[in-house]
Assembly symmetry: D2
Homo-oligomer: 337 residues x 4
């Protein structure tokens, strides 16, 4: 932390800040410039309490200089992490492809689509049984019944299953049916849920919140990691901006930047990230070229009848084509799909 | 809903869309323009399923024409709602002032500040016992111990208490100690929590999410209302933008627009909304002038030692001045503080 | 400027940075922390060249500590500036009200509306003769003919005239007809235009760009001031965000913050700032309560036939009511309208 | 255009709207729903005037249904446009690579870097002679002297030259020295400049504004096209968001979407788009995978001494590596670099 004093702060005020720093167990390091005096705060302990020094009348600002995450940091863990989901590896040489409908709508529907995405080349099946919907009057999901259908689809196809959790208490039931838990964008900073999922030990996909910065996103992962669960996969799925021709603005720079800063695997959701079917394939290619370790793509065989997210879902034949294009880019990157 | 067909859609494709509309139980109304054919969807039922028609190859877009909320709507409830919190009315002629520290730090601290804000003119006390913090290593709150201290502060001062809930299971313990529950910005679209708080029947302050549109914000309230809990107060607290000199961008237009669209009371949090102590008083005045029914303001008597949010907290004497200025604007609006 | 070295930078690298600093004529001040070494750059000269040090392999980041404006700064000019527009003072005790249509459509129209806004209490008339329109096919303004109509309206009513400039070469013709020049949001960082208007010496309203931070906005004003033109009025008119129920997000915190940092007058445009007629009056009240020195409001007597911006224009009787409400808030602030 | 009437609009009000529509020369088409009446506006003429109908008391909203551009539209021009810059083709099978420093700093510097980027494989040289800088006190460019140095670099290397225009009157001098004009992000909606560049007939790179939507961006291109200049290349360079770890948020979905909607070539600027040197190569790869026709990349051989944008500039050897990686992705896309 660096403390910038106001232009005309007195000797006495500078002394007061130094005393406060030392009282908290840090060392102070004074530096006088032509227009401003700055004070460095030196020490090993967490320095978040120093932030409040900005409320002293003599202080202009308090500037952090370290990145705010630890276990997730590449500095602490040089090797990239590979998360193992029942044998499917996320973060290794192979690009992981997760596909399926937005919502589980019936047993017949999820089993049928599971076969379709498996045939096209997916390794994991997605499908929502608990749906976080903007309106309380929209379809809220089949709940445990939906989980059973997912388990059936797994049994028939061998695909590993990932599904979204929306309430803390649901970890127990999810563990029984699925291989991996997804935390959705609206719950990215639901810290109670992050802790619960951390304690479950289950592999987890953490989606970036719509207004979550990259640093905050990694700190959210840190909540899960610090509960002792290392199996975290980060998912870029677009952020909210003024742009209104796409559902969100997919931030592929975040993929490359997280790979610089963290050892955790990163996947991309081009379906929510764009909200436009025609953009799913180009953005899947771009995600791999940016360094993503996987894709999670919405696929539905009758999107016009989907209970949710029809317009952004690929049809199975479009998904098959998408995978072919992804494979070319993966090869150019020295990876496989 | 209005369905816009693509430029060169065929008669057959138009017929197909009309069949799908009728299959779902609505009536279709066809309108042919020079460059586009549009089809209106007519009927009483919820039309969210129609959104998926956008995934038909022949359809260019699907445009909703109704506002997406019901119980919260002014069309359904012409009179403004007044929420009663143990005798303190929010939404009436008097501007409600809620004040206190970001976090409950000790019994002594919360009781001392409670007296200070009561003396200055506040009607309710705020203070966090369960803290949603960006970093898992930052202070997470005193939990139930903090609730007991809040209850003590209430007993000594008579101030009604509002505190934040972060986990579904905590409604039971909160009910024992506090008068009103706050749902924070990061949980604005934590629908499981909204339902739980809806079922509790407790008065609730719902804060706007950092990337939540006004329509989505009112729909979030609709989750609580539709569980049978009418005691919802909306709180504008700023949204995330590119502006980096303030912590958030306080959107006072949202206050005026919600008052147009909804009967629910609206309050403003200028502390989180700006993150800058010097802006709290001007924005409190502006909030009242925009039509807000109340303010929630962070006050701390030693902000430089606060566990959180020191830089945006008013000191008690600044808060007293702020209330005086608010009183003048309230009088100009025909209200009192 | 503060230079933060990377975690494992060597003695040699630190020495290299210090040499570079000294080579540019500054003094370096070294501070070693537990995890990072930082180097302060001390000296009177402009330090923007130091920013490039961030490209050294050994440097983690370069952090500025001073505000990036000078002449506009309150530190340099303690007294608030009052801009005199042919006798109308902006920035004094009286709130300046500027009103009129978005576009000058005909001589009859602008004279008629000029009388209407004058009768209601406006001191200045606005109206666009050169229109910056998103589409090249939309009405582009009457150009010099429109300026003549504005001059006619001035002659008949005595209202001072402000109109928008869109091209550098137009200062000469504008000077002949109008009292004040407006630089629109899309040209806020058109630096060539800022310099030209600076050289003209004319009073100027500078509107904030849709993605311009408060600091950048004041720096844009600095371009005009540094050409020797002190007659700058800043205008907050909303910024672009994800919110789609209002045309822009009006940032009233910017008003209060600019008043803290700068001596320049600040006015607010609630018409473009909200894009919603029903919000113009509440936001006008709120602007005054936030400390604004004036308002610029779109008024049209037949908004449904306006060539542009009809939906956000007040009708003359609504404008009259708006002024009455503004007067009450102004009185509460110790000012007049 | 579709006009949505308010819930309880009367027969008379509906009739009034229909008369107004017919008075302007369009046909009205009435459609009555259960909760709302809507009126379609049918006709060939530009319908922007209809927007003002939203200001009628009986009208809830006016919704456009057509995309707001014509000449730029793929519907009007099925084949992709290839822009020829003195023999260098932008928009064809080969990915165009433009590289060079942010600013021309001296003759020696620009000639030296020109050789370096040519050797690495670039086809065009960039370099600013007129610099739009946020602060009036920062380096503003060498102006015509800088253009002469660029011409010298062209003569020595054969690279085609692109440089930024900042003022209308400069087209004449630019034409003498350079092959292509760039309009920067801050001037994306400087319509006077767009028209002037349109009239010049010169090949032009139009950069997206920081808060310009994709539709507005294409409309800005339409200003140039409608002056009779078909040689327009669009450049995605990131938009402004809340994210603060990158300088802008690079929106690669925009590349893919513009290729769907328009026949114009699209290039990407990963240097300004990220502001972080480490992200330039991954985003260059991703841009090609998203379908971009070219890249414009900042390269400097002594970035720590650059007058501007050092931290985001590649060094020549990094640029050479970047091109190698780009070549692999281009090959996977069936293109060359």
């Amino acid at each position: 932390m660096i403390i910038v004093m106001k232009q005309n702060s007195s000797e006495e005020q500078v002394g007061e800040v130094i005393s406060l720093i030392e009282k908290l167990g840090y060392k102070a390091h004074l530096s006088r410039g032509v227009e401003r005096t700055i004070i460095g705060v030196i020490g090993h302990k967490d320095k978040s309490a120093i932030q409040s020094f900005a409320s002293l009348d003599s202080v202009e600002s308090v500037i952090p200089i370290l990145k705010p995450f630890k276990i997730a940091s590449r500095e602490m863990h040089l090797e990239p992490t590979v998360v193992d989901v029942g044998g499917v590896k996320i973060g290794g040489e192979r690009i992981t492809v997760i596909a399926g409908p937005c919502s589980v709508e019936s047993e017949e529907q999820i089993v049928r689509i599971a076969h379709a995405v498996k045939d096209a080349g997916a390794q994991m099946l997605r499908g929502g049984a608990y749906k976080p919907r903007t309106s309380p009057y929209a379809f809220q999901g089949l709940e445990e019944e939906g989980l059973k259908y997912l388990a059936r689809a797994k049994k028939e196809t061998g695909l590993k299953i990932v599904t979204e959790i929306v309430a803390i208490g649901d970890t127990d039931v999810l563990v029984k049916y699925v291989d991996m838990i997804q935390i959705g964008a609206r719950n990215c900073q639901n810290f109670a849920l992050l802790k619960a999922v951390g304690q479950s030990g289950m592999p987890v996909i953490l989606k970036r919140g719509m207004a979550t910065t990259i640093k905050e996103f990694i700190q959210a992962a840190e909540y899960i990691l610090s509960e002792g669960n290392p199996n975290v996969v980060l998912c870029e799925r677009g952020v909210r901006t003024f742009e209104d021709s796409t559902r969100n603005t997919l931030d592929l720079s975040a993929v490359a930047l997280i790979k610089e800063w963290s050892h955790l695997p990163v996947i991309v959701d081009p379906s929510h990230g764009t909200g436009v079917r025609e953009l799913v394939t180009p953005m899947s290619r771009a995600a791999i070229a940016a360094g993503a370790d996987g894709l999670i793509i919405e696929v539905h065989d009758h999107p016009e009848e989907a209970f949710s997210d029809g317009p952004q879902s690929l049809k199975p034949d479009q998904f098959r084509e998408c995978l072919k294009e992804m494979a070319k880019i993966a090869a150019a990157m020295g990876r496989t799909v």
